[in-house]
């Protein structure tokens, strides 16, 4: 078992669950210092690494690595799930065993990343308003059309979060979109805590915020108590040191082990002495306040934005704003505070002034670009404000209308989300050493006639348009025979 001190991100509960299932092989990648950690619990089993098959080499296409300049007539080699080589075709050695895919006339881009979505789950909102201990991993259903559509549209990773109707909704996770078993797909077990400032229907904002402050205060108290306890524990040990000198070796060993586990769990509550159910339930809030995970704060109205920022300041957590339509009114504030913000799925919509009756068109990419807010996009499978808001590439393409360059738009759905989710050390761009998550397009990205031809996740071809019978059916139904 390889455990490093940076592997501190999963919570007590998920960790307990993990320890009971030793045959699972899970890749947990996270770290404040952005260190990749591969945690292999137990020995063999249906191995995540097995997803990555033999080598693949794309030759002859145009590669847009996002990090760095595009390369024409390039070769891209993926080996054991990772990018092994990238460069002009005459400078790259193609491994003999590699499956060579002719990409002439095609464009290769990194897999797209959904930075925040509530899709792909069983049910997104818990009725209980305070459920920080829940994890979407327990609700993610890889059989839902969301995942199929993701691959069809070149999305290879998605940060899936609880819905917007629960005060403290639980923990989001980042998963690769290919797979049948969520554990094989998970790349970040706890990507952040979902907090919603929008009151559930029938409730007011005063009660919503009071409850939130109460829970955050409790978590802060817990951190303080744990700190005190640890101090007195240390003093006690110091005092006992001389008396139990003969047992020192054994104790030391055990203490180290204990500490490892507690760090691993990102929560002092897993220490035997302090553990009780309330503490465990609060573990996720504790790791939030320790800045081990960010908060994805759903802001429905513009008024929620300053509140979110003030709360983050007061309690010392890292906020990422998930914006509703109305929040464009707080764009300047968001820009000044340099807080990351994710735009709502409806990027263009109309409003009528309730007093004057004046009709006004709101173009969010324009408003947020003016305010200096880097654009990050969400999709929606139900919205009809714009025609293609269910496609991540469409959202980025729409923003090019507001002056975002094609390169910036592509980065906004690849590298930028990866950076925000702190997974940019292994996904988000095409670089040697990063995961083999590659999308082969029929032409230039973000163009009307461009389709995803192949999607590769961890070096495995998981989508091939030429075999996509569902897409064929969507385009041209099977004609009835008379």
């Amino acid at each position: 078992m390889t455990v490093t001190p940076t592997m501190t991100m999963h919570t007590a509960l998920t960790d307990l669950a993990m320890s009971g299932l030793e045959n699972w092989v899970t890749r947990v990648r996270w770290g404040i210092a952005a260190i990749v950690v591969a945690a292999v619990l137990g020995g063999s089993g249906p191995i995540a690494q097995a997803q990555s098959s033999g080598s693949i080499a794309f030759t002859g296409g145009r590669v847009i690595p996002v990090m760095g300049d595009p390369i024409d007539n390039a070769a891209l080699v993926i080996r054991e799930g990772r990018i092994a080589a990238l460069g002009p075709v005459d400078q790259v050695t193609i491994p003999v065993e590699a499956r060579v895919i002719d990409a002439t006339g095609k464009t290769l881009i990194p897999g797209l990343i959904e930075v925040h979505t509530t899709s792909g789950q069983d049910a997104v909102n818990e009725i209980n308003p305070n459920v920080p201990f829940l994890s979407v991993l327990d609700g993610i259903n890889p059989g839902l059309p969301f995942f199929e559509d993701a691959l069809r549209n070149g999305v290879t990773a998605a940060a899936i979060f609880p819905g917007d109707n629960t005060l403290i909704g639980g923990q989001g996770a980042v998963v690769k979109t290919a797979g049948t078993y969520v554990n094989d797909m998970t790349i970040v077990r706890n990507a952040g805590l979902k907090i919603s400032l929008r009151p559930a229907s029938g409730r007011g904002r005063m009660a919503q915020l009071a409850r939130l402050r109460f829970e955050l205060t409790k978590a802060r108290e817990q951190i303080e108590n744990d700190e005190k306890e640890r101090k007195s524990q240390a003093e006690k040990e110091e005092a006992n040191k001389g008396a139990e000198a003969d047992k020192q070796d054994e104790t030391n060993k055990e203490e180290t082990k204990k500490q490892e586990t507690s760090q691993d769990a990102a929560s002092p509550s897993s220490g035997e002495d302090t553990a009780n159910s309330a503490d465990e339930q609060r573990a996720a809030l504790v790791s939030l306040l320790k800045k081990q995970v960010p908060a994805f704060v759903s802001c429905d109205q513009a008024m929620d934005v300053p509140v979110a920022l003030a709360l983050a300041n007061e309690f010392g957590f890292e906020p990422i704003l998930v914006l509703g339509r109305d929040c464009y009114k707080a764009a300047q504030l968001i820009g000044k505070s340099k807080t990351p913000a994710i735009l709502p799925p409806d990027l263009i919509f109309w409003e009528t002034d309730p007093r004057t009756g004046e009709d006004l068109k709101r173009v969010l990419p324009e408003i947020f670009l003016d305010a200096g807010v880097p654009l990050l996009f969400q999709t929606s499978s139900t919205s009809s404000a714009t025609l293609g808001s269910n496609f991540l590439w469409y959202q980025a393409a729409l923003a090019t209308r507001s002056g975002l360059t094609d390169a910036q738009a592509l980065a906004a759905i690849t590298l930028e989300p990866a950076k925000l989710l702190k997974i940019d050390n292994f996904v988000g761009s095409l670089e040697v050493g990063k995961d083999g998550d590659v999308v082969m397009l029929s032409g230039d990205p973000l163009k009307v006639g461009t389709w995803v031809e192949l999607t590769v996740v961890n070096g495995r071809v998981v989508y091939d348009r030429s075999n996509d019978d569902k897409l064929k059916r969507l385009l041209e139904p099977v004609k009835e025979t008379k």
Partner: protein, 427 residues
């Protein structure tokens, strides 16, 4: 419709281009002053003469695409289209002060929505009667409604408002020009076509389940009832030739007016064509909705019907019948040679998606301009950039079928929007 026509003498402006531009500069200068009064008093070139120069003009007419091209507008109408010569400019004088150079802009005809998803004022269905043939949507349209502004902003200059789908015979569809910044929509044609519904909609809200134990439960509550009511209305129209209430139905069956039939599923589309055949309808109908038209291609062709496709969707099934999602339906209809239009707003974006899904570029543009204009019987004056046509133009800052392209301005009846004023050469 042009209320200033009578007040101003167009001939007076038809002389020197320079005079016009001097006049225009004054007018447009006034527009920039935030005084509504001055705006509403000035027709903004509606009567004047203007020559537009664009990088590409998609005429949707015999001239095809012209690169670069000129359009000469006079009195709210297009008078000439083509190269510098065609609009009366001499070689080498293309930077004449009389020309508004739109730079890299593309020009397309004002878009025509043959079945707007536009709500009329208040409820759009009559709940006390299923058959209201003489009623007109025109009477209940709020001409200052946001939807009309939105449509205008998207480049839609003409749209048809249909009575709601909850009545079996809903009444007359009306055609409007859309609403600009300061101008309410204007009525083009109050009786553009008789609208009937052959779908689940009329039966949908009549179930007693929605109003338990109510005496107000009314016909129809199922699809048989919908078809029966339609048949009965047709029959009554024949049996009572003097009843003015059925006059529109008689007109439609005789082929003297368009019949617009809302139908989505294959069996509704078939039923519509069957009933019309039974009653010896003289003219083919316009099928509004048409989501499952791919399964009845032959029948539609045989009947000579055309299709006003309901707003394309990429995410979910359609309507109360949850008809299947078929992305390339426009492409299928084009291949079969069935005239069709894309309707329901967001037309340019719909055309882009239709093109992505397999429809040709020219056909995609035609499906939001020339074809719907024809479906509404206005092909003589709308849907193309050609001499004699209304000066309804959309100025785009790039090729029409690219995601990155913005609508830079919409010219309605020759009226130039403020967004284009920056292109006017001051010297």
């Amino acid at each position: 419709m042009i209320s200033f026509k009578d007040r101003l003498d167009p001939g007076g402006w038809a002389g020197s281009i320079r005079v016009i531009v001097a006049w225009g500069a004054v007018t447009w200068g006034m527009v920039l002053v935030p005084s509504h009064a001055s705006v509403s008093l000035q027709p903004e070139g509606a009567e004047g003469q203007v020559i537009l120069k664009a990088a590409q003009i998609h005429t949707l007419a015999a001239q095809g695409s012209i690169e670069p091209g000129f359009v000469k507008i006079e009195g709210g109408r297009i008078v000439a289209v083509g190269d510098a010569d065609a609009v009366g400019l001499k070689e080498g004088t293309t930077d004449d002060a009389g020309v508004i150079d739109l730079g890299g802009a593309h020009l397309i005809p004002g878009l025509v929505d043959a079945a707007a998803l536009f709500e009329s004022l208040g409820p759009d269905a009559e709940v006390t009667s299923e058959v209201t043939p003489t009623w007109t949507a025109a009477d209940s349209v709020n001409r200052r409604a946001r939807a009309l502004r939105e449509a205008f902003d998207q480049g839609i200059t003409t749209l048809a408002v249909l009575p709601g789908s909850d009545n079996v015979v809903g009444g007359w569809a009306a055609v409007f020009k859309t609403t600009g910044d300061q101008t309410p929509a204007s009525l083009v044609e109050p009786r553009a076509g008789l609208t009937v519904t052959l779908a689940s909609d009329p039966a949908r809200r009549n179930r007693s389940g929605t109003r338990p134990d109510s005496i107000y439960v009314r016909l129809p509550t199922n699809r048989m009832g919908v078809v029966w009511l339609l048949r009965r209305a047709f029959q009554q129209a024949e049996e009572e030739p003097d009843n003015p209430e059925f006059q529109p139905i008689r007109q439609a069956l005789k082929g003297n007016t368009r019949l617009m039939v809302r139908a989505r599923t294959a069996f509704d589309l078939e039923a519509a064509l069957r009933v019309l055949e039974e009653f010896h309808a003289q003219a083919p109908p316009i099928l509004v909705g048409g989501q499952e038209a791919y399964n009845v291609i032959d029948q539609i062709k045989r009947a000579g019907a055309s299709v006003a496709l309901e707003r394309l969707r990429t995410n979910a099934v359609y309507g109360p019948e949850a008809t299947e999602l078929v992305w390339n339906l426009p492409g299928i209809l084009a291949k079969a040679g069935i005239p069709f239009a894309l309707t329901g707003g967001d037309l340019l974006e719909q055309a882009r998606f239709a093109h992505r899904f397999g429809l040709g570029e020219v056909e995609a543009l035609a499906a939001i301009t020339r074809v719907p204009a024809g479906l509404l019987g206005l092909s003589e004056r709308l849907g193309a950039i050609a001499p004699g046509y209304d000066a309804d133009l959309v100025v785009l800052d790039g090729p029409p079928l690219q995601w990155s392209t913005n609508v830079r301005g919409v010219i309605l009846n020759g009226r130039l929007p403020q967004s284009l004023h920056q292109n006017i050469r001051k010297d």
